[in-house]
Symmetry: C2
Subunit: 329 residues, 2 copies
């Protein structure tokens, strides 16, 4: 393992310190915790919090700020934060209008965020949540019952964050979340495994000419290994699976997120984006929103994912387009 | 070589198509060229252009937009664009107030941008330029007489871009460029070589536990290979070299850019940033501006660089802080 780190067991702490040092205008860390919270919260609005294991940077701390998250709870690498850490985030982020939690669908996260909700409710803080399960690759997985939550979660942060900033109530945000999440779907391809610093070797290995479709962001198994093919063929496989999942109809409106998994250069991400664009145009779809880059990574995994959101309401597109004051959107 | 591409000889074309597809609200491509130009140019302002070989994404096309570049000329991978491509950019970008070119110090770039300047002057377009040579690693290099131009170039785009947006004349921009460039210095460390798609294998290789200080963004040799050390030790080496180059004095004001070289996760970049921050604080410096992420990459090279700019005037900090409308700043 060749990494720019100090003690492997200190990577999350050191990273969060660096994060706060670099972005002290926007965010701060609740001392002794993995909670990154925004400095200027909009008064009386619903607080939006998210989090999970670390290793997915810039998610989630990079999305803390005006127009997106109020706080991010950063657990150990690939490991859910504890309920007391999540509770700290809830307590500090609450402005009296309640707290809404965006949870990726992993059993540990679901359990710990739910426990934190119960603890917060004992303190009379109103808490509600949505579970994001956008990854269409597989049903059930290493750490998950049902589908996994992956890069599409960032669309949830953005849309709900804009709604919260706009004054939506906890009930309204819950209703919006329940409408958007079934319209967000993701599928990815990995070219290499990720090396967690405390493990010291890749979570899985692929042959020199091999790729795997549908790998999870913690290295959970995907649905097929095969020889690497040109970008056009990879885009074809991924778009055809999304087509099936969405049941594309001509003239529908979509937003797109091409997400690098950590060590895939922008050059490859844009080449893939171009191929995806051609395929979606051939389906007669309108792609009204596009984003390309590293948003939800798996440490140093090579590969990328494609997320689509079906924009059933114009309002969702408006929410995607509102400027934010965050580090990584 | 395992990459998400189609034909290796088409990577730049395919990437630029993807770039334009994803960001058609901000930029367009001059057809049949490698020139990316902003859609809404501010009238009567000096046009700022930059460019060079591709493979450094998001540089330079990601910095085209209000407050930074007017156009970016994207050559083949690691190869200067031709004078006629640069001339196209000059012609299209000029608003009557002249064109200022930001050139990284590589012999091919310097020659071709200079030739384009001469061609443009024959058409009565006023053109001036600055050569950026921020890399303190080595004097003279594989493709360069004198020091190389690397990530510090992005600070030049930002500061001059803000000044141009603010109505500075060509003469004023030239004077500002000549003041800031000697105050920008960079040093990096590589953990792996970059693989150019048409070459198919890394430009150089390092042993499993080896790093190299001062490698250039095209894989040009650095000044020392040694065993990988903790982030703190890497930061110590790089900051001490920058200290010597700047002759740090307590209470001076600086801006900082930690730049990932392509496949180094944000986790490592922020850990390194934290270590750099401690060292600069120990020197008694004020670090008023901080930026962390991939800005000037070397395809899929692992590693990072640290750029410092000595902020001799408050105005420079203001220029760094003005919001832009670009993809990657």
């Amino acid at each position: 393992m060749k990494k720019i780190i100090n003690q492997p067991e200190e990577v999350v702490n050191d990273m969060l310190e660096g994060f706060v040092y670099a972005h002290s205008d926007l965010i701060e860390r609740i001392p002794e915790t993995g909670v990154i919270i925004r400095k200027q919260e909009t008064p009386h609005k619903v607080a939006l919090i998210s989090g999970g294991g670390s290793g997915h940077e810039p998610a989630h701390a990079g999305f803390v700020g005006a127009g997106m998250l109020s706080a991010a709870v950063c657990g150990p690498v690939f490991t859910s934060p504890t309920p007391d850490q999540i509770l700290e985030a809830i307590q500090k982020a609450d402005n009296g209008a309640g707290v809404f939690m965006v949870i990726k669908n992993y059993s540990g996260d679901v359990m710990n965020f739910d426990m934190a909700k119960e603890l917060a409710e004992m303190e009379d803080i109103a808490v509600d949540f949505i579970i994001v399960d956008d990854d269409i690759a597989v049903e059930d997985s290493t750490y998950t019952a049902g589908k996994r939550g992956v890069a599409g979660t960032v669309f949830v942060h953005k849309i709900l964050g804009a709604a919260a900033e706009n004054g939506a109530s906890l009930t309204e945000i819950k209703a919006l979340a329940e409408k958007i999440v079934p319209n967000i779907k993701t599928l990815g391809v990995a070219l290499s495994g990720a090396t967690a610093p405390e493990v010291g070797k890749p979570g899985f290995t692929l042959a020199e000419d091999e790729i795997e479709f549908g790998v999870g962001i913690h290295g959970e198994p995907g649905y097929r290994r095969e020889k690497i093919a040109p970008s056009k063929a990879l885009a074809q496989e991924i778009v055809s699976k999304l087509k099936e999942a969405f049941q594309f109809k001509p003239d529908e409106h979509y937003g797109l997120l091409v997400n690098g998994l950590g060590s895939t250069p922008l050059m490859e991400q844009y080449i893939f984006t171009n191929d995806v664009g051609s395929l979606l145009a051939a389906e007669g779809l309108n792609v009204d929103f596009k984003k390309v880059g590293d948003f939800m990574t798996s440490i140093d995994m090579a590969g990328l994912s494609l997320t689509l959101i079906r924009l059933e309401e114009n309002k969702w597109l408006d929410y995607l387009n509102v400027p934010t004051k965050t580090i990584a959107w």
